[in-house]
Symmetry: C2
Amino acid sequence: MTAPESESEAQTGPDPAFLDLLKWTADGLIPAIVQDAEGGEVLMMAWMDRPAVVDTLRTGQTHFYSRSRKLSWHKGGTSGHVQHVEEIRVDCDGDVLLIRARQVGGACHEGYRSCFFRKVEADGRLGATGAPVFDPRAVYGAGS
Amino acid sequence: MTAPESESEAQTGPDPAFLDLLKWTADGLIPAIVQDAEGGEVLMMAWMDRPAVVDTLRTGQTHFYSRSRKLSWHKGGTSGHVQHVEEIRVDCDGDVLLIRARQVGGACHEGYRSCFFRKVEADGRLGATGAPVFDPRAVYGAGS
């Protein structure tokens, strides 16, 4: 697998002056929605801590904070399915980020382009929409 | 101002069998992203408790839970700027909802179509994008 870091040029992000305007949770986190910059599809929502926002600005690729693993991670660092950031927006209350990005491969660890691949059907159950864009077993290993 | 409830016919939502599959926070909440069903613009993110999800299904219009006011509220109940739900999606982890809806007026209490009307500029500051679609003082009163 190709390490995506080696393909992308080092980027210097903007000075993160806006960070001090954000409202973080008591745990120092902020939710970040990622939207496909091209098709407009909402791909995922995850949490960022301050270092993850700074790393996202610095590298031009999304970084998040895993609440279960209690560490920052580079989206696509294992799979190669990185997100190239086009624009970062902040909501009116300053407590949610919207990141418009170009998604390589799929955002979802289950192989789908978007994590929101299930819809509520008329009978109140969940049904899958669309088809996976990659095989998660091939990307993450058979244990996934 | 016209009460939006009186305009919409009573709707019977699907049986919310999927509710038991959702992962709620310790406070019994789940984040809900609202996306414009027509243009694809991400309009807002807010929190729902279980009654808010049920009311959203039952009425076909979004309801949320205000963490500051500690109560459920009908989006657009004051302003008339309701959101007519077209589809509800659930993410792979079952801990985020994506609601595709037809927005009447604007989603943002500051008068913009989307709450994400500010973008991070190259200098690290926030700049407004676009223009308001309504005057919040006229809709919510001069104190807003």
